[in-house]
Symmetry: D2
Subunit: 183 residues, 4 copies
Amino acid sequence: MKSPPDSTHQQTLAQWREQEALVRQRASGSGIIPPDLLAQRPGIELMQAIVSGALPVPPIARSLDFVLIEVEPGRAVFQGDAKFDFYNPIGSVHGGWIATLLDSCVGCAVHSALPAGKGYTTLELKVNYVRAVTQDSGPIRAEGKIIHLGGRVATAEGRLTDPAGRLYAHCSTTCLILDLAKG
Amino acid sequence: MKSPPDSTHQQTLAQWREQEALVRQRASGSGIIPPDLLAQRPGIELMQAIVSGALPVPPIARSLDFVLIEVEPGRAVFQGDAKFDFYNPIGSVHGGWIATLLDSCVGCAVHSALPAGKGYTTLELKVNYVRAVTQDSGPIRAEGKIIHLGGRVATAEGRLTDPAGRLYAHCSTTCLILDLAKG
Amino acid sequence: MKSPPDSTHQQTLAQWREQEALVRQRASGSGIIPPDLLAQRPGIELMQAIVSGALPVPPIARSLDFVLIEVEPGRAVFQGDAKFDFYNPIGSVHGGWIATLLDSCVGCAVHSALPAGKGYTTLELKVNYVRAVTQDSGPIRAEGKIIHLGGRVATAEGRLTDPAGRLYAHCSTTCLILDLAKG
Amino acid sequence: MKSPPDSTHQQTLAQWREQEALVRQRASGSGIIPPDLLAQRPGIELMQAIVSGALPVPPIARSLDFVLIEVEPGRAVFQGDAKFDFYNPIGSVHGGWIATLLDSCVGCAVHSALPAGKGYTTLELKVNYVRAVTQDSGPIRAEGKIIHLGGRVATAEGRLTDPAGRLYAHCSTTCLILDLAKG
């Protein structure tokens, strides 16, 4: 079933590994964003500070071994390796690991588009699983993009692919936009 | 916001802790269901063998620290503790941890209703998040129930609650039923 | 495939027809709820006024031939007949007709729980289709119930069944709660 | 809120109206696809025969006043006018009308990619509503595209926009692929 890797695939794979190594090298500890920063900075600054290592790696990313690779306003990319540690009882990576990467990419896509004083909470996430992820799937990327950004609500979509461009899962989400600055 | 625990809540909490301790005590290693068993046994037997410790704990359950507590045909309950290790960058438990418990309970609810020779794969999962899960949420249960069981497709729903009955999230799923015995 | 109707089914069918006839008899014209009423009355009063004929039938209900049958706070039931007029090109009732009944029942379930001065808008609806609806399906009911009612967001679920209790589709929804009274 | 129409918008509007008039002019009666044709022809041929008027307009399209405008393998576009007849009680076009157009475009996108002997049924549809549709929204288009086409399951996404490019709603769907040719 697994297609033979062609040279483009190999180049993409090498680039993904390199980019991940760089991000992991700069990472500094694990933790959440300090609440005062969260309320006072635009989302894009906070997300970029996680990529650059100025802010710590979120705990879940450490537990499930994935990293925020790239972020720009309205778009965020996470990368992870599907390990045996994340397997379900029936022989492939658990849908929850996939949902975690997808939830991360669409949530960050929304957050990265919010100005200072605004936050968000995820109201719902729908994931479509179209191909099993296994230990052999290699590094996998979840790319999230905003679809709609309104005053109270935002929606976004995400896709999980490997370096060969194979699609494993996709999602859509609805986020509620919150006022964080109250005073 | 947190209601004062009343005596019913305390009893439920104690019962949940006790049940979890019993399951954890019997657990024997981590791993997947051997493929030949998976194809030859009714789902309910396999699920009950995980609860009783005759089959190993699925790797994801070890990584995200949750256990299968109860299973009967068409219904499955998982329990987990929301730890700081599962936090997102913005200060609460990541939606992916919640999605993992919910995906598990609805998937197992479907699997527990399948006869020998049949398996399933999750086509889609939609999660609604209605209350933030934090370190203080205590033990949390995800209960999944089959809604529809057809020849090719099954649907199920799940709810995530604490011992006080507070709802944190709910979900629905669509599973494709597969022929595993081909020989 | 169609089960022979038993006596309970026949009784339910007769009761559904009778209840529908009563509602249709009281109906007075077609139209929307006057905006000032919409902002000033609790949702349950408005919904009950549609059932009693004091407020007009919503235009969509006339176009797709269904009626609001019952409403109480947090629960609403619609009934419709699946006619050939609502068929898709491939030989059964279009999923959009089903989605319309389900969207109606969950939206009204939410609206019926809102106090005066509050309104809602539907953010998302997910429908699972589990059995084809045809001209022979007879009268069909969509029953919606609130799952979660918060200050800013509500969720609800709905099920579409026939008098024999057969399930055709189910759904979940997320609604945003709005302030309608602004001075 | 409504942006002043610029010249590009006006050109798109004129083109949409012209295309719709052409399709409506060729339309020949209302009805479903004859079952033997449905089983024996590739989906794209059937869909194109609806556009060209060689096959009748589906009943639901007549009841809710929309037309299939364009179809190519893996992509389908429907157009409709949001009329008062489709209003909900709270003053805008009912979400069910929107869901009907979106369900149509993603279902046809899937059908248009299926070879002779294959059919499909929709397992689930999730719609996100991001802007109210009113009588003043003008002609609206639902464009569906396949995301994943497998042997047993396909997924697709759809978007509802006006000639100015404003997004009103978007959706994703899961379809089960069926064998129609049985001898």
